[in-house]
């Protein structure tokens, strides 16, 4: 039974990873692409790792996959933040349909 649930988690994770990559291709500029890749790929990968944990139980690889989930959740947003800040500092403009850019107004 737990193997079937684990399989379901792995399939959900793969679907979200697919949407993340689709977003990386379809969305117009750096910031929107980062949104898609951070959110979908984080949850997708965590879901795959959790499915692996359900398969393996409390064994060596199962515990390592849980640790992997914790470290992905802690580090993925930080790297996205660093990439977005770096892109904005080096002068990458927002895409054409953008509504407002308060950051550029404040920092000159």
């Amino acid at each position: 039974m737990t193997e079937i649930i684990g399989m379901v988690f792995i399939v959900i994770g793969l679907i979200f990873d697919l949407f993340g990559c689709l977003g990386l291709v379809r969305l117009p500029d750096v910031y929107n692409r980062l949104q898609a890749s951070t959110k979908c790929v984080t949850l997708g990968t965590c879901s795959i790792l959790f499915g692996l944990f359900l398969f393996k139980g409390f064994t060596a690889s199962g515990i390592k996959s849980i640790l992997g989930i914790i470290f992905i959740i802690l580090t993925a947003p930080v790297s996205a933040h660093a990439l977005a800040r770096g892109a904005h500092k080096s002068g990458v403009k927002l895409c054409k349909g953008s509504v407002c850019d308060k950051y550029a107004e404040d920092k000159g």
Partner: protein, 165 residues
């Protein structure tokens, strides 16, 4: 300073024991030696206000925060997947400015990370002196600072304040 070292020692040892699961005698000895050395060398800058670790209510609020965070994260993913898969690409992006009342470094970090992983928003920069966050929003509903703060920040802020402040 001493408490900070002890906290780092316990955390490092726990993570080491999970990495070398299943637990045994040899790994435990190596773990105690290395974690002791690391916490002796760098432990004094790990936490600044060690007395906060004694409050039980903070752990309970953290337990409440985990399901809240997972629920918001699920909503974020379905939202982004819908926008990406829609043929017309319904996005309306922009960078807005919001204000937070959190002051501590840990609280600000958790707030920024939570905002990044929740529906349609991503932190671009933080101004800790004035408490401003610059947020890239994939679907801007309001350019005004007060309204944007209400929509984005407040659902996490009230919980995070009880954990980290």
């Amino acid at each position: 300073m001493k408490k900070s070292r002890i906290i780092l020692f316990i955390l490092a040892l726990l993570i080491w024991m999970f990495l070398s699961w299943p637990p045994d005698y040899q790994h435990l000895i190596i773990g105690i030696l290395v974690a002791g050395f690391v916490s002796f060398m760098t432990g004094d800058m790990f936490v600044k206000r060690a007395h906060l670790f004694k409050h039980l209510s903070r752990y309970l609020w953290f337990l409440y925060y985990i399901p809240l965070f997972i629920w918001e994260c699920m909503k974020a993913n379905i939202d982004v997947a819908y926008r990406v898969a829609h043929p017309d690409l319904p996005i309306n992006p922009g960078i807005v400015k919001v204000k937070t009342t959190l002051k501590s470094d840990t609280g600000l970090t958790f707030l920024a990370n939570s905002i990044t992983l929740t529906p349609g928003t991503m932190t671009v920069d933080i101004d800790p002196e004035h408490g401003f966050l610059y947020i890239h929003w994939i679907d801007v509903k309001d350019k005004d600072m007060q309204k944007a703060t209400q929509i984005i920040v407040q659902r996490f802020e009230r919980v995070l304040k009880r954990i980290f402040e």
